[in-house]
């Protein structure tokens, strides 16, 4: 029958959803950012955004946070993944424990680290009980931007390293054992096997993980809201502010386009930088 039409029929629901809820809205948000109420092209929303005193701070904070969090996550996840491959017993149990944060929302992660960093929290209790500090500190007060940043970075590393770990463990599972064995036969040390065999073959997974993490890092929102309130402006927080508090969806859309722009730019850079040469796949 219809066998020719069948695959298209099966794809149809998801294609409709993608078209109506993904492609069209992105056109809409772009239009919202560059047009006024009368439907004329305007750059007013962008100049309002760029002229606002918080824009530069939010942009820098988001960028610094990404630069602080993502490299640590990649290294930590690589280390965890190589520990997992070295395990003989208990592999599944440890993997489950390490992937627990995968199920925890960014808001919940923020609240979890709030219990540690707030003024009557566990860190202060620890420092005072052991006589390191005499008074509890206001780590998350507006005058302590440095510790707010640190708390957010820790919460992000804690929460989102798991997704990188899962991608890398899955990727390592695809590398045939023979390559490792061959390298061992030729006298490669553990470290050499890691850098000369595992890392190059893991490139596609590293690429996927890096793209995903960088994009998620640009979208960071609820962790910052829970730990920093409005003391540490970030891009996604500004989108929310303009949409809800200042009630200017056009400027919010302009912010959204900035996030979209840097996300796409970073995706392209990472794809080019970690490209796999033709014919070098497993």
């Amino acid at each position: 029958m219809q066998t020719r039409a069948l695959p298209y029929l099966l794809l149809l629901p998801s294609v409709i959803l993608l078209g109506v809820l993904f492609l069209y809205p992105f056109v809409l948000v772009a239009w919202q950012a560059i047009s006024d109420d009368a439907g004329q092209l305007t750059s007013a929303h962008f100049s309002e955004m760029l002229g606002h005193w918080k824009f530069n701070t939010a942009f820098k904070n988001t960028l610094y946070l990404t630069l602080a969090v993502v490299p640590i996550q990649m290294v930590l996840a690589l280390y965890m993944a190589s520990l997992v491959t070295g395990m003989k017993r208990g592999r599944d149990a440890f993997l489950y424990i390490w992937t627990i944060p995968l199920g925890i929302s960014d808001l919940a992660a923020g609240i979890i680290w709030l219990s540690i960093f707030e003024q009557s929290g566990f860190l202060n209790s620890f420092l005072v009980t052991f006589g390191i500090n005499e008074q509890p500190e206001t780590f998350l007060g507006y005058q302590n931007k440095g510790t707010i940043f640190l708390a957010i970075a820790l919460a992000e590393i804690w929460r989102a390293t798991a997704i990188v770990l899962v991608i890398l463990v899955a990727g390592m599972g695809l590398i045939p054992k023979e390559y490792q064995e061959a390298a061992e036969v030729f006298g490669a040390s553990r470290w050499q096997r890691f850098t000369k065999v595992t890392l190059p073959l893991l490139k596609p997974s590293l690429q996927t993980a890096l793209i995903l993490r960088v994009i998620l890092a640009f979208e960071v929102f609820a962790v910052v809201a829970a730990l920093g309130g409005t003391n540490l402006p970030i891009l996604m927080g500004e989108v929310y502010q303009w949409q809800f508090v200042l009630r200017d969806p056009n400027v919010a859309a302009a912010f959204a386009l900035v996030i979209l722009g840097i996300s796409i730019l970073c995706t392209l850079v990472i794809m080019w930088f970690l490209r796999t040469p033709k014919g070098a796949t497993i």
């Binding site: 629901p13 599944d92 219990s115 829970a226």
Partner: protein, 272 residues
């Protein structure tokens, strides 16, 4: 491997690293639970005890707090609708990708993979405008549609890997025995993929359950739990936040435990 000094030192670093990393993941969760199981006075007292007093005042205060019950119910509703939508649109696509070669297949795959290179929560902004126009603003259905968009790429990729794992010969055997395509799928393939389908449905549930930004932008009266908590962040008392955080975390933990096996097959295939 020989049992000399260096290799035993390495074994110890190996063990210690594993334990430290487990503590790094588990201790913060434990501290949240301690706070949740302490009375409101204990939560703000100083210095804080590391053991919970198993006082249920905080949690009962949270459950009885105005709006929490409704928010919880909304969260469950949105997550269930998301689950149904993403599986019923994603599974047929996954099946088509695994069983047919057709024009536009690679384009479709690129489209699905492309969604991951976009900050999807931002979709909430244009959808807010769109929904007001078509009367879907501040509704369960509207939010569930956004969450479906977040979960759909995963549903397609997981079901694609599931169906690819089942030999097409099984289906062909059923055809020769007189089943039509639909019967063969329903009687042979469906029972085999059911556990995997359930896993990807659960995954869709967790994505929706945890989503904050879109829920906060798209709903006003019909807040889900994360949106409700976010709204109250600057004025809510600490014990309310901690109890809310714990309620948010608990089901997600259980669900991730249930689908842990599929996490890896999903990302394995998603890499290619």
């Amino acid at each position: 491997m020989n049992v000399d000094g260096t290799s035993s030192a390495m074994r110890w670093t190996f063990r210690v690293s594993i334990l430290v990393l487990c503590a790094w993941v588990l201790v913060p969760i434990y501290l949240l639970i301690t706070n949740t199981l302490s009375s409101p006075e204990e939560v703000v007292s100083f210095p804080k005890k590391v053991w919970p007093s198993f006082n249920l005042e905080s949690i009962s205060f949270f459950i009885n707090f105005a709006g929490v019950g409704q928010a919880l119910w909304n969260s469950v509703l949105v997550a269930c609708v998301t689950m149904v939508f993403s599986i019923s649109a994603g599974a047929p696509a996954g099946y088509a990708l695994s069983r047919f070669d057709f024009r536009g297949k690679s384009f479709y795959r690129v489209l699905i993979l492309m969604t991951r290179a976009f900050p999807l929560p931002l979709l909430a902004l244009p959808l807010a405008v769109l929904y007001i126009r078509i009367g879907l603003d501040d509704t369960i259905l509207g939010l569930a549609l956004l969450h479906t968009m977040l979960a759909l790429p995963f549903a397609v990729l997981i079901t694609y890997s599931l169906f690819s794992g089942i030999p097409v010969e099984l289906e062909e055997a059923a055809w020769t025995l007189g089943c039509n395509r639909f019967q063969a799928f329903y009687k042979v393939i469906f029972p085999l993929v059911l556990p995997g389908l359930t896993a990807s449905a659960i995954f869709a549930f967790v994505i929706s359950w945890n989503e904050v930004f879109g829920a906060a932008v798209l709903t006003i009266e019909h807040r889900t739990l994360p949106a409700f908590l976010l709204q109250g962040l600057d004025q809510a008392p600490l014990h309310l936040k901690f109890a809310g955080g714990a309620v948010l975390v608990a089901p997600a933990l259980l669900f991730i435990f249930l689908v842990r096996k599929y996490l890896f097959s999903m990302w394995g295939i998603a890499n290619r």
